[in-house]
């Protein structure tokens, strides 16, 4: 019911005058479980509201099992982009208890989800990523920047094997985005195994001629660095070659094709049409 434009929860059992001062589901549920008038009116109410009891055949879950469920649930939350506190309320906890027979109440509060669970999921996924990247020979490093929703600048460091994986994210903060700062940020944010020369085995060399130069090439952490064509990025990728992080560096050719498309539209006069269309719609 609504009183003074605020929602109140009242007991609907005949003769009961209970009404909550705030719309609190937990308190209302506790009242219904304790209210004799409600029990008399609706005999099945207590069983419906109580968490389902464990089956006699199934032993209660161990702490390790519950921790695994929580991590799996948190991993799905992260992959779906859900906020850390999505399931941190009584309704969701009651729902989880209900469907699990009182065994699992959800991944926990937002501190647990955003803290230990996020770290453990991140460690597990990143270990798999490192294994895939380390097993691929001829890796490419790409780096690009974005201004996020806050808005603050962030740079991602991607290793292509050849499927791209995020290796790290770094921010320059108040520092200028010069080539030196970008390269320092990139190298310092990379995992240690990917910044050092790799050991070269005979299997890796195959039947190629024995050559110190070939071993140096095969042991290079990355073969190429690819960035867009901003001047600081061009300088950064050239410095990456000089520093020995990679063997070669070139610009993103998808950007090159886009520049060619721009040339085509300018030459044909199409860009004037686009501009005029924008003028009309504005």
């Amino acid at each position: 019911m609504e009183v003074n434009r605020r929602l109140r929860l009242s007991c609907a059992a005949p003769g009961c005058s209970y009404h909550a001062r705030v719309a609190n589901i937990t308190r209302a549920t506790a009242h219904l479980l304790a209210c004799p008038l409600a029990k008399h009116t609706w005999p099945g109410l207590a069983a419906a509201l109580s968490p389902r009891r464990l089956s006699d055949n199934k032993p209660p879950p161990s702490y390790a099992e519950i921790a695994t469920w929580a991590e799996q649930c948190a991993a799905l939350m992260f992959q779906s982009g859900l906020a850390f506190g999505t399931f941190d309320n009584p309704r969701w906890r009651a729902f989880f208890l209900n469907i699990s027979g009182g065994r699992f109440s959800g991944p926990g509060d937002c501190r647990a989800v955003g803290g230990s669970l996020l770290q453990s999921v991140f460690d597990r996924v990143f270990a798999q990523v490192l294994a895939v990247v380390a097993a691929h020979h001829g890796r490419t490093l790409t780096c690009d920047g974005i201004t996020d929703a806050n808005p603050r600048g962030a740079y991602n460091v991607i290793a292509c094997a050849p499927v791209p994986f995020i290796m790290s994210v770094f921010r320059l903060g108040v520092n200028l985005s010069t080539a030196e700062n970008l390269l320092n940020g990139l190298v310092s944010s990379l995992p240690q195994p990917l910044t050092e020369p790799q050991p070269v085995s005979a299997l890796l060399r195959g039947r190629a001629i024995p050559s110190a130069r070939l071993d140096a090439l095969l042991g290079s952490p990355f073969w190429a660095t690819v960035t867009d064509n901003a001047s600081n990025m061009v300088l950064m990728r050239n410095k990456a070659v000089e520093s020995g992080l990679c063997i070669m560096a070139y610009g993103c050719f998808s950007h090159v094709v886009n520049l060619l498309a721009e040339d085509v539209s300018k030459q044909s006069g199409l860009h004037l049409g686009i501009k005029s269309a924008v003028t009309v719609f504005e």
Binding site: Q79, F84, G114, Q119, F122, V125, F126, Q128, V129, V132, H136, G138, T142, C143, D144, A149, N150, A154, N156, C160, A161, P162, P164, F165, I166, V169, G206, A208, I209, S211, R213, L214, L218, A224, V226, D228, I247, M248, A249, Y250, G251, C252, F253, S254, H255, V256, V257, N258, L260, A261, V264, S265, Q267, S268, G269, L270, L272, I274, S276, T279
Partner: protein, 331 residues
């Protein structure tokens, strides 16, 4: 339509400047002229942005684009076409690297494309010049390694040219080298890695989409460290489900069309050279190469241009070049 101004029921006066802009731009005619070229470029961009797109696709596709500009697009003025060819060369000179050209030489599927651009593709160097520069950079001071790579490259080119390239739907070039590259062991080690390199930073751009899931205007108070970890988890978890991109690689229809176009153009140029007794435009680069390096000489000795090619001038029906261009421009 603009004057009717149905957008607003109460109506307002459309400024004269808008009519003037529309009249000057003649958008319909300019769009009709530019659309086929833009369509090709957008398809090429999509092909290059694939995760497993080999590095060799860059020069291969752009060579095909140059051939298309020279032989097709009759609605484009000649000055515009030559300007665009110059822009392709300029963009490659600015953003490229000689290793990208070496990758083209190592892809059997694009065997014909290395003959497609007769002039200096990047600055003052020919494709062969850039290929040599790449080998010099890779080998450094190691003469034995350089000679082994050059020897393997000569043997590989002989093999591919005698087989007239690779038709149909061959596997990813890196897979091709693993399967069939045992005869050239030193080059095999280099080629499998070079052809696995990414040719665009599309992966970086795609990851930003994931960031917008994690950090949005309505959920923007999360600490940076948490954002970075969740961003990494979301993106990498999805990528781990598709790590076998090279094995699943399928050559795009655009690449096949480009190679078909180049094949016809190269064969037509060879036919013109035979008929006129002099090299025509679009003749194989190795034929007129005056770099003076030893393996170019070997290429010339082998007659890598028309002798090895399977296509003869008689195989091409009149108007076949235009037909290929039309295929390229379709849909």
């Amino acid at each position: 339509m603009i004057a009717a101004n149905r957008h607003n029921t109460t109506g307002f006066d459309v400024p004269d400047s808008v009519f003037l802009a529309v009249d000057q731009a003649t958008p319909a005619s300019s769009a009709a002229v530019a659309a086929p070229v833009l369509r090709i470029l957008f398809r090429m961009s999509a092909s290059l942005e694939a995760d497993a797109s080999p590095l060799s696709a860059v020069v291969g596709l752009l060579s095909g684009f140059v051939v298309a500009l020279r032989t097709g697009f009759p609605e484009l003025p000649e000055s515009t076409r030559s300007y665009l060819v110059d822009r392709v060369h300029a963009q490659l000179a600015s953003f490229g690297d000689p290793h990208v050209v070496l990758a083209l030489f190592l892809n059997p599927f694009f065997a014909l494309c290395r003959h497609a651009d007769d002039g200096a593709l990047w600055g003052t160097r020919t494709l062969a010049g850039h290929r040599d520069a790449a080998i010099e950079r890779l080998a450094g001071d190691d003469v034995a390694f350089r000679n082994a790579v050059i020897g393997d490259l000569g043997g590989y080119i002989t093999h591919v040219d005698s087989a007239a390239g690779v038709d149909g739907s061959p596997p990813h070039p890196a897979t091709w080298w693993r399967l069939y590259g045992d005869s050239w062991p030193t080059l095999q080690v280099v080629a499998t890695r070079l052809l696995s390199l990414a040719c665009s930073s599309a992966g970086s751009e795609r990851s930003f989409k994931t960031l917008s899931v994690v950090l949005s205007r309505t959920c923007n108070r999360t600490h940076n460290a948490h954002v970075d970890r969740q961003w990494s988890v979301v993106f990498n978890s999805r990528q781990l489900n598709r790590v076998n991109a090279v094995a699943m690689y399928q050559r795009s229809r655009k690449e096949k069309e480009v190679v078909g176009l180049v094949r016809v153009a190269v064969a037509a140029a060879a036919a013109g050279a035979r008929a006129g007794g002099a090299p025509a435009g679009g003749a194989p680069a190795a034929e007129g190469d005056d770099d003076g390096d030893d393996y170019d000489e070997r290429d010339e000795d082998r007659g890598s241009g028309d002798e090895g090619g399977a296509l003869e001038a008689e195989d091409i029906e009149p108007g076949a070049v235009d037909g290929e261009v039309n295929i390229l421009l379709a849909d």
